[in-house]
């Protein structure tokens, strides 16, 4: 039997885990819940590995499970597509998902039984939805997963639902995602109306990617922009990025899994999946690149002045996602997917490391009250450092290769993209090492009580850290650039079938080797300088007082939240108040009551017609007949 037909098992296991943990969370004990929750994801991971080996041999498969929607000419099957791109995402989701499940079992151990069960059931549901998103063989299935991960994100951000601030953060995430989802949905409808199908591709050549020549340039640009609007919501790009930093209200493993490694990369997955449409829409590509670059720079500036350990990482995630969109925008689809993968490794690592720190500090997240943790938390410290080097893009850590690939493609497209991208990379190195130095170096600045309780985290938390650290270090060797003569670019080779069609459509930019060496050298030298400056400045004398001047603008996130509140929320509230107090009372009530009064009044008058006199009745009858005759004879023009 073909292994690829087992693809339904991949999302099936987490679904089972979700049902068991969701329904029996009060009966099961905590160890059992964590074994079920993690075990199901591990089972998915094993199936994914089997599928991956099969795909690596060049086999792809579309599994039609059942007809989902079928009417008229439109037929949307519930189908899973297993190919190079989806199998790679399967590995990332289930692999990192499994590590984070194991980590959560230790991190969440203080929770009460049913809340512990609730956490794992949400996590499993999330993994299920995310798998649906990447496995779906058409945009509708992707949309189901898309909405599912949005729901899980909402549930998990608001996991500690007794805290109003957390609930508001959850609502913010949900609503901002809805704005993007609307764009996605309209794009799907547009596709259905133009092509009558939403399936990606079929052997008979009736899928969206086979029929793209039927779409006019306006259609393609419109559809791709709408899809990109969906991606900006889910992947936290300008202008819909403000939910992601607030989403740090959720438990740290959630931030690691959903808001760093997997869900926020759904937008990149979608665009990589639709790469052919984007290749045909240069306008949209420029827009994607511009938005990605702007987000990368903008979020990096904010991250420099944040003092909450998770907020720094959140803005760093926004910034890195910006890089991925830059990669997509300049046509470096492989680079973007590569960066998704390496970013999943080191950002999950950093978040889990931050979680370990927070755990040790008894839920203290402000880095100004940390410092000198290197000695107390050796494993966390070391793995966190690996993550920092990886994200800063230092050779030969994984971040170097993926970022370099994107920047090289950007330079080939337009050198300006490259200069700005390098500026972002320098800032990334700077704020990451500011975070590292303030947290782990220098003297401890917390309370005596915290100092007394400082301890390294249990093995269930450190083992995932170590695994992720190894991946962060060596993960880059999957995609070494040609110039370094370190073997072929394995990832590019692997993903080639997915991006084949676009590769044929765009003109290839080839940089000569000297330029590439120079680009790498410049980026890395600047990053190393930034690292040294940050280490030198913050290890001895961290900034503990409130920032002033321009620093305050950055610390307050450019006042974007306030701007949104002023431009969108306040007018909405005002409008709602107007509608509630004026429109509702004066107009709607008046209308409704008026209808009642009018009926009352007319019936009082009409009542007089019932005189009881036969003569009057006959007269009315004759007049009505007269009216009927007039209507039938004179107004009945055929």
């Amino acid at each position: 039997m073909n292994v690829l037909q087992l693809v339904w098992l991949v999302p099936f296991f987490p679904l089972v885990g979700f049902l068991i943990n969701g329904l029996l969370r009060k009966q099961l004990s905590k160890p059992l819940i964590s074994i079920i929750g993690s075990g199901m994801v591990l089972a998915s991971f094993i199936v994914s590995v089997l599928l991956f080996t099969e795909v690596k041999n060049g086999n792809t498969h579309v599994a039609n499970l059942f007809d989902f929607i079928s009417f008229g000419q439109l037929s949307i099957p519930f189908a899973f597509q297993i190919d190079q791109l989806s199998s790679l995402f399967l590995l990332i989701i289930t692999g990192i998902g499994f590590l984070i499940h194991v980590y959560s079992a230790a991190y969440m151990h203080e929770e009460r039984n049913e809340h512990f069960g609730r956490f794992f059931c949400y996590l499993n549901l999330f993994v299920f939805s995310m798998l649906l998103l990447v496995l779906g063989a058409n945009y509708v299935i992707m949309f189901i997963g898309w909405e599912g991960v949005g729901l899980c994100s909402y549930l998990l951000i608001g996991y500690w639902f007794k805290n109003t601030e957390y609930n508001n953060a959850a609502k913010k995430a949900f609503i901002m995602n809805r704005i993007g989802d609307l764009g996605f949905l309209i794009a799907i409808f547009w596709l259905i109306s133009k092509l009558g199908t939403v399936t990606y591709t079929t052997p008979e050549g009736t899928g969206v990617f086979d029929l793209y020549s039927k779409l006019s340039p306006v259609d393609i640009t419109g559809i791709t922009i709408l899809l990109f609007v969906g991606a900006t919501g889910k992947s936290a790009q300008i202008p819909l990025y403000t939910w992601l930093p607030d989403a740090m209200a959720g438990p740290t493993p959630v931030s690691a899994l959903i808001h760093a490694a997997t869900m926020v990369t759904a937008g990149i997955y979608m665009i990589a999946r639709s790469n052919i449409l984007y290749t045909l829409a240069p306008t949209t590509q420029s827009l994607v690149a511009a938005i990605g670059l702007a987000t990368a720079l903008f979020a990096a500036t904010i991250a420099i002045k944040q003092n909450d350990i998770k907020k720094v990482l959140a803005y760093s995630t926004v910034s890195q996602l910006g890089y991925m969109f830059l990669g997509l925008g300049v046509g470096a689809y492989t680079g973007a997917v590569f960066h998704v993968m390496t970013h999943a490794f080191f950002k999950a690592l950093l978040f889990l490391g931050a979680g370990s720190v927070i755990h040790a500090m008894h839920h203290e997240q402000d880095i100004r009250r940390m410092g000198g943790l290197a000695k107390k938390l050796p494993v966390t410290h070391f793995t966190f450092l690996m993550g920092c080097i990886a994200i800063a893009g230092i050779f030969p850590f994984s971040g170097f290769f993926s970022k370099d690939e994107i920047l090289a493609a950007a330079y080939a497209k337009d050198p300006m993209y490259y200069y700005l991208g390098v500026a972002g990379a320098v800032m990334t190195a700077f704020y990451m090492f500011r975070l590292y130095a303030t947290t782990f170096l220098g003297k401890f600045r917390g309370t005596e009580e915290q100092k007394h309780h400082l301890h390294e985290s249990p093995a269930a938390m450190t083992i995932p850290l170590i695994v992720l650290a190894i991946l962060s270090v060596v993960g880059g060797f999957l995609g070494t650039p040609e110039v370094l003569h370190m073997g072929e670019h394995r990832l590019e080779h692997f993903l080639a079938p997915v991006f084949e069609a676009s590769a044929g459509l765009k003109e290839a930019h080839h940089l000569d080797h000297n330029t590439e060496y120079m680009l790498m050298g410049v980026a890395m030298a600047l990053a190393i300088i930034a690292i040294l400056v940050a280490l030198f400045r913050y290890s001895k004398k961290p900034e503990v007082h409130e920032p002033a001047g321009f620093g305050k603008v950055l610390a307050d996130k450019w006042y974007i939240d306030e701007l949104y509140s002023f431009v969108v929320v306040k007018p909405m509230n005002w409008l709602a108040k107007f509608l509630n107090n004026i429109f509702e009372k004066r107009i709607v009530d008046w209308l409704v009551n008026g209808v009642g009064r009018a009926v009352n009044y007319t019936s009082r008058q009409v009542r007089l017609l019932q005189s009881g006199l036969v003569g009057n009745y006959v007269l009315l009858m004759v007049l009505s007949m007269l009216a009927l005759f007039v209507v039938t004879f004179f107004f009945n023009k055929k």
Binding site: L619, V622, L626, F629, V630, F633, F634
Partner: protein
């Protein structure tokens, strides 16, 4: 203008005039007598159309039986012009105007109808003869014909029951 046309106009004038008199006579007995004259005129029309059977039946049933019944009831109640209270003048006017409007509408509708130039046979055609009508009545229409006897029976019973109270 041949004889049948003369007869048509004469009978029509007679029917209309006596019908108007039915409505405007104060005395109910006069109304009944005018109505009998109307029925005679209509019977004349039937005979003109060579519907002899219906013409005779109209005379016997309407002018003979029904109108006698009316007269009988009026005599029984001893009604005369003075006993009938007059209706409100405006309501009367409204009735006349409504009837006139109906007349106008129907006539105007007829102007658009597609009957222009069609002719009804006068004096010829034998479908109105007893032989042909009887044949149709006892073959195609035998069931309604028999049912009408039940109708008469129930009408008779109804009249007796109402009159007994």
């Amino acid at each position: 203008m041949d004889i049948s046309q003369v007869l048509f106009y004469a009978l029509s004038a007679m029917a209309l005039g006596s019908a108007i008199m039915v409505v405007i006579s104060r005395n109910p007995v006069h109304s009944v007598l005018w109505l009998i004259i109307t029925f005679f005129a209509i019977s004349g029309h039937y005979i003109l159309l060579n519907a002899q059977f219906l013409g005779i039946v109209n005379l016997i049933v309407y002018a003979g039986a029904i109108m006698v019944l009316f007269l009988f009831v009026i005599m029984l109640m001893n009604l005369n012009a003075e006993t009938e209270p007059q209706k409100n003048k405006w309501l009367k006017l409204a009735g006349v105007v409504a009837g006139g409007c109906l007349l106008l509408v129907l006539v105007a509708a007829l102007k658009q109808a597609e009957v222009k130039g069609k002719v009804a046979m006068l004096g010829t055609g034998d479908i109105g003869l007893i032989k042909n009508l009887g044949h149709a009545l006892f073959t195609d229409y035998v069931v309604p014909f028999e049912l009408s006897s039940i109708l008469f029976l129930s009408a008779m019973v109804g009249a007796v029951v109402i009159g007994k109270k």
